[in-house]
Symmetry: C2
Subunit: 246 residues, 2 copies
């Protein structure tokens, strides 16, 4: 039974996140794609995703796979899917994988980017994809503190309640803080992310950059394994899943 | 009577362009800003703009000025304006100018950017700010042809009917065609633009790049001063007013 891998770009602004929700919480990206696949393949499809994204969070290349009995040439399936999918969700790549391929368990790492618009006024053209934060931030300090998070650690301090992941130990392989065109991009590559981990890390780095948490605190916060020591969560709209590595 | 200059960023997706329209054509950016100024300054305000933009067209830095009897500190006026303006229109700069300053007549040149998304699939994240064109384009040829337009010419071939500008002679000071991240950016700097001129030039360059108009045609089309010889107009959403030089 073919195992089909999709790469998906989406603007999460109008969705209640990736995962199918209890009724009444708004439509989700998973729902929209599964319904479209159902219509095309005349078969109930269940997508396996690399990792669900929250309400408002975007993806440049989310990965999901599904098993199907249907036999449709993949180029045709891609065209048909994109013809039916709404403007804010599109399949950018489609490929048949080995039977054992699993979007989540086969992933070696994921890269998320958080974008802070750090200037005096908000941006109409970027408003759905950045977090507008007008106060001055010490980027060099944020970068130094971010480096404390590199490697394998228990990230419980940056985990929101409600996550289902049992293992709080994750490996951050790379974390960069870069300023470009008035925006600060914080890129985090890890083998896995706890619930809200990326956004809690960014929120904490912002408080360091603003001078509200003293420099040198990140290592202590990480060791404390206490969510209350870290900074506030930042809004979903600034977050984008850039890539999943296999 | 103070003469106030505004720099304005807007996402034109939800507007019927800049200029106040006859009733029933949808709200315009000018209307929204004038109403907000009226509310704040308790005075009827008429904005003078560097050049109106069409439906769907964006601006990173549109310029408009107005004369007022009101005396409000400009930093406070900017804050108050942005507090009342919708998310898709914001004032990025405010400054008092000399009495003779006129957003349109004082302008030395304007720079427009047209962005073509040139790859096999459309982009949910860029959908409101690019024109998706999936067919291969010969960028080197487009660049060579674009160079024929440099300098002072009668641009009647690229003028849509309905424009009010009496002088079809404009000076294109710079025109560049650059590929970046799957997008082709066409930047045009000129001392003035006829109605739809930028979009008609881009439409013609696309037909050259696609091979539908042979290379070497641009000079001939320009000389013909006949709109029917040029290519089709391209959608407004790919166009953005980047800068007005004074």
């Amino acid at each position: 039974m073919p195992n089909i891998k999709l790469e998906i770009e989406y603007d999460g602004s109008n969705y209640a996140g990736w995962q199918v929700q209890p009724a009444g919480r708004g439509k989700t990206i998973q729902q929209v794609i599964e319904k479209t696949l159902h219509k095309l393949l005349r078969e109930k499809i269940r997508l396996i995703v690399s990792g669900r994204t929250d309400s408002g969070v975007h993806a440049r290349a989310q990965v999901a796979n599904f098993h199907t009995r249907a036999r449709m040439p993949l180029a045709r399936l891609k065209l048909a899917l994109n013809g039916l999918l709404p403007e804010d969700i599109k399949v950018t790549r489609i490929k048949e994988e080995e039977p054992a391929f699993h979007s989540r368990f086969s992933a070696k790492s994921k890269i998320y980017r958080y974008t802070i618009l750090n200037r005096g006024h908000s941006s109409p053209l970027l408003r759905n994809t950045v977090y507008f934060y007008p106060h001055p931030l010490d980027i060099a300090l944020m970068r130094r503190e971010a480096n404390c998070l590199l490697g394998r650690h228990d990230f419980s301090s940056f985990r929101a309640s409600g996550g289902k992941d049992k293992d709080p130990v994750k490996n951050i392989k790379k974390i960069t803080v870069a300023k470009k065109n008035g925006c600060i991009n914080i890129d985090i590559e890890a083998d896995g992310f706890l619930y809200n981990m990326a956004r809690n890390i960014v929120g904490t780095l912002i408080e360091v950059g603003r001078g509200r948490i003293p420099g040198g605190s990140l290592a202590r916060i990480l060791l404390s394994r206490n969510r209350r020591h870290a900074g506030q969560n930042v809004p979903g709209r600034g977050l984008c899943l850039l890539k999943v590595n296999y």
